[in-house]
């Protein structure tokens, strides 16, 4: 019998505790009271934990930035989260050490002594969520991390190489779900898109190309903003330090769409 991701929460509230009303279609303007504690508990009930894998067989697509932001958002929502850094440059631990709010986040790195699945199992025993950041290449870890996941996010920029590699990554995720006989929610995240109101022609073109191969593309795109480029230097994370900013709203919207994807099962089913 195929394993299905448990669905304990109907939807994720926004910073004011209100549930989204209009689906996951781009940005929503949440009134956020600066004086209120914005922390909201994200949970899967007492007995479940979620594994989110960021995968793309091409490097430089935005996996690590998206993984960093996801961990930060989970921390901002008072959720217990750990990370597994399969990128040999080990960017996650180094970045979290520079951000006081994230210094406590446990970051595991692989060793020849432990399998990836064993490492994730250890993290999962202690945390409600595990975020996996893969190396930007088709490695022996790619499908392993996908098979472990409840949600696979495939960041893709606008170039033809990103598209080609994004489709390959999508197909690997489909195969991982088939091998494991499980539903693995998955979605392509368009990264470094224009942050303005007008979407460039190439973004619509890219969405269409992904649709052609049956890949689900997240409605919310990861906008190209200086805040994300500066984040690893400034240790300023918009959705942790300035939730009213446009960059923060962009990522919160994206995060909610990701969480909804986990809850609704496979993105392929959503696309169909």
């Amino acid at each position: 019998m195929p394993h299905t991701v448990p669905l304990p929460l109907p939807a994720f509230p926004n910073a004011q505790g209100h549930l989204p009303e209009n689906g996951f279609s781009g940005y929503r303007d949440y009134p956020i009271d600066r004086n209120r504690d914005f922390k909201i508990r994200v949970g899967w009930g007492n007995q479940h934990m979620a594994i989110i894998t960021f995968a793309q067989v091409k490097g430089g697509s935005g996996k690590t930035t998206a993984a960093m932001c996801t961990v930060a958002e989970l921390v901002a929502r008072s959720s217990s989260v750990a990370a597994l850094d399969l990128d040999p440059n080990r960017p996650l631990g180094e970045f979290f050490q520079r951000v006081p709010e994230l210094q406590h986040v446990e970051v595991a790195v692989p060793s020849s002594e432990r399998r990836v699945s064993a490492l994730v199992r250890e993290l999962a025993a202690r945390h409600d969520n595990v975020v996996i950041d893969l190396m930007g290449a088709a490695t022996n870890d790619t499908q392993v991390a996908m098979a472990l996941a409840d949600l696979v996010i495939i960041p893709s920029q606008m170039s033809g190489t990103d598209l080609k590699c994004g489709v390959e990554t999508w197909r690997q995720a489909v195969e991982a779900a088939e091998i494991s006989n499980r539903t693995i929610a998955r979605g392509v995240l368009l990264a470094r898109t224009s942050a303005g109101a007008v979407r460039p022609r190439v973004e619509a073109f890219l969405r269409e190309q992904y649709r052609r191969v049956g890949a689900h593309v997240l409605t919310t795109a990861f906008g190209d903003r200086a805040a994300w480029k500066e984040m690893t230097y400034s240790a300023h994370i918009p959705h942790v330090h300035d939730r009213e900013s446009n960059a923060a709203r962009n990522f919160i919207s994206l995060f909610e769409e990701m969480m909804a994807l986990i809850q609704s099962g496979s993105a392929a089913a959503v696309a169909a």
Partner: protein
């Protein structure tokens, strides 16, 4: 002469087992969680070779490369001593060399260090220099 006061009777304490507390929250991860079973299927040497042959694997992460199955089918001896963890920092170029040697020889970083220490005269049993990952899983 003082009157002898009767001493209070000794009362046996309640030695019955404590009432069962309501079961605590179930573990986050069940022993038979299908996510881990599926991933383990893909962490074998055979799955790795298949991935290379079919083009899914084009870059090897030496830290997580599945070990080759034991030739001859003889089970490796088990380590004798209980293990304790050791964490330290080394120069990046040393780590790179250790990883490279692992990729070339299949000798884990742990075992490379133990072998080097034994050469320096530390007492280390041969049985404790085993790659436990090469043991066939039951």
């Amino acid at each position: 002469m003082r009157a002898r006061h009767s001493r209070p009777a000794l009362q046996a304490p309640d030695l019955s087992p404590p009432p069962q507390q309501p079961s605590s929250a179930p573990p986050r991860v069940a022993a038979d969680d299908p996510r881990f079973a599926a991933a383990a299927q893909l962490e074998t040497h055979d799955a790795y070779v298949r991935g290379v042959q079919e083009g899914r694997v084009r870059v090897v992460n030496p830290d997580t490369l599945p070990p080759r199955p034991d030739e001859g089918g003889l089970a490796a001896p088990r380590r004798r001593s209980p293990e304790t963890s050791l964490s330290t920092k080394v120069p990046e170029y040393v780590m790179q060399q250790l990883r490279l040697r692992y990729a070339e020889t299949g000798i884990t970083i742990r075992n490379q260090i133990l072998i080097a220490l034994r050469k320096e005269g530390l007492e280390i049993n041969e049985d404790d220099i085993q790659d436990e990952r090469k043991r066939p899983r039951k």
